[in-house]
Symmetry: C2
Subunit: 411 residues, 2 copies
């Protein structure tokens, strides 16, 4: 008898019919003899509906009240799921964040879990209950309801799996696993059987939206095996996310990602002396803008061009800050490109195999795509290209590393 945590996202419980289907799935797992904790999100659209109500009453709803408001979405889902499981004859029990004593800090809307009291949930499991947990919510030391941030029902599930030492944390969503690339862009993308935490983190951070970043970090820290599956399909395979193993190292590239919401700023003729980078990036960081890639090309004249990327939504604010500094530090000028794409390949095999980046550049060159920036990490190579070539670059790289002919992808 294994203890399994299952998490069902908003589309998976998005209607009465979907709740019924999920309850059947939970019931079958119970019939197989597993102990079950079922974490549910709000019904699809509900969180936005509630936030819209708040938005019609206040331009800046107080975060404490907004949390009390939106937490009802998961409370409704949890109660309905328990009601359905009971109607099927299963001993279900819903529990909310404060009832589970999921204690968090007081940063409403993005609270961090500090502790989970495992007694309440363990007792319910020992009593033979299927425990249905309202995801996304906790309680601060003052007893106020907090929420953990968008997509954070994943986090609730992983945290409970860690505390309970569960055999697995199954994340049910509307896709049947993690793909080698976005199937909407790469028709030949295929589901991965296995992927390491590190690769998943790079892919999540690079814009693959299957799993929430913080939940993967937490799973890695506590070594919680994650399985991503579809709640809409009877296919039970999904993608397994766990610790790196030897087999994984034999695969150079696990996935290709594309981020089309980037823009690029270049400061030309910057004097090459200490402290200038801090002058430039300090104000940007203070204003909460995330700078992704930074590249500096030192020229022969002791002056350099400094190029970096920011999310397109932040471009205007970033430009204002940069232009203000540019004059002070005597830069020659400020250029920007508002539409660039970042294409990345990710794979733990890169740790032990050289030449992956070179192959990547060759593939892009063969397509006539100019590389504007390059950044590498241990298990990732990212390039910035003109936005109009983003999808082409992704498809070309996918075909080369992950297509029909696997020659390029075995170390």
């Amino acid at each position: 008898m294994a203890l399994i945590v299952q998490k069902y996202g908003g589309t998976s419980v998005g209607s009465i019919e979907r709740i019924k289907a999920v309850a059947e799935r939970v019931a079958r797992a119970r019939d197989r003899g597993d102990q079950l904790v079922v974490v549910v999100s709000a019904m699809a659209g509900e969180t936005n509906r509630l936030l819209d109500l708040a938005g019609r009453l206040s331009d800046t709803p107080h975060p404490r009240e907004a949390d009390a408001l939106v937490a009802t979405g998961e409370q409704v889902s949890a109660a309905l799921m328990a009601i359905r499981l009971q109607a099927l004859g299963y001993p279900a029990l819903s529990l909310l964040g404060y009832q589970l004593r999921i204690t968090t800090d007081s940063r409403h809307g993005a609270a961090k879990i500090k502790a989970i009291d495992r007694d309440r949930i363990s007792q319910a499991l020992e009593d033979g209950r299927i425990v249905v947990v309202a995801g996304f919510q906790g309680v601060n030391p003052a007893g106020d309801i907090t929420t953990l941030g968008r997509g954070a029902s994943d986090l609730t599930a992983v945290a409970l799996a860690a505390v309970l030492n569960a055999a697995a944390c199954e994340i049910y969503t509307d896709v049947d696993g993690v793909y080698t690339a976005d199937p909407n862009i790469c028709p030949r993308a295929r589901r991965l059987e296995r992927i390491s935490y590190d690769e998943m983190l790079e892919m999540a951070g690079l814009g693959a939206k299957v799993l929430q970043l913080r939940s993967v970090e937490l799973a890695r820290r506590f070594n919680v095996p994650l399985v991503v599956k579809s709640s809409f399909s009877e296919d039970t395979r999904g993608t397994w996310v766990g610790q790196e193993d030897r087999a994984m190292e034999n695969v150079l590239v696990s996935g290709v990602t594309l981020d089309q919401n980037q823009s690029k700023i270049t400061l030309t003729g910057v004097e090459d002396r200490p402290g200038l980078a801090a002058r430039i990036f300090g104000p940007i960081a203070e204003s909460g803008i995330v700078v992704d890639m930074i590249i500096q090309n030192a020229g022969a004249d002791g002056r350099a061009d400094l190029t970096f990327t920011v999310p397109r939504a932040d471009l205007r604010r970033a430009l204002e800050l940069v232009r203000a500094v540019a004059g002070e530090i005597g830069a020659a000028g400020v250029r920007h490109e508002d539409q660039v794409a970042k294409v990345s390949i990710v794979g733990v095999g890169m740790r032990t195999h050289a030449g992956v980046a070179a192959t990547m550049f060759k593939v892009l060159a063969a397509e006539g795509i100019n590389i504007e920036m390059i950044a590498t990490s241990e298990i990732k190579v990212s390039v910035v290209v003109n936005a109009k070539y983003g999808e082409l670059a992704m498809r070309a790289l996918h075909d080369a590393f992950l297509g029909e002919n696997p020659a390029l992808n075995e170390g």
Copy 2:
């Protein structure tokens, strides 16, 4: 500076526009210097929407889960009201049943309040907050959410007013007070300035739906002054509900009520011996049917006719039970009338003034209305008439006791 508890019902907070209007009203009260506790119901229709979802998942939703489900309705209203008050610049704070430690028994759906911890709410008031409370909900000793029954946001408000020793508990609804009769039936019905707890209890029990019965009982027990007002009108008068005083005794009749949902059962030829009433009414009580009026006419032959009323919705079940018993006890027969109306006059003046009942019978006789049953209490006279005469009887009695010519109504 007075401490006031205000309660707003479902129609009063039924839309974003209504919530804005109520927040303005609360803000004005605050500007007058009052300390305020604001109890809110779920937005009109929300409780039914949630129960409908549950009903599509289970024929008999588990009461614990149903309570966790419907309690979200008041949670949403409370958060939205706090958000709006804050947007207007007022220091509001929403609190839920478990946060206020409104401890109840575990009878889900109809829980009884056992205790309220006044520290949390007093602290918030001392901090200068307008405390917005989610009505209708509590928490049992195990930490499960309970609800107090339909209409029980009134009860939350009265209980808080009692614990806090509030100067008044204002119940805001969609009518501007308690009326001498239902204005839909009696065009000349008028708002009462004052009414005693006892009269209000009789009127609430007799079908006047302005206040929930249990909340009036609680208000009487703790001597909480109630004021019923409209949240839709700028008229600030309303109806005051409090302890009986000398002025009230000078009014014979405060109100006329009509209950059109009654039916009548008669057992004929019942032997007049001890124990038979228990044989007849025992099974009916056990099946949860509320018997209202009972009348027995002993005949000269030692046999009697026994007549009683039950809610029309329960008539069929009651008839089955009565017919089963009728044979066993040797009754001559069972008759029933499925449409009767109960018309009542209520007034504390009856305690000290004789002849009110006689006047009532005279008024009905003048209209040619036959009285089928009569029941009296200290402050009430009820008669059962053929349903088709119900509204006519009500109007005739209202005109006689409460109309333009007040002669009949002064002791």
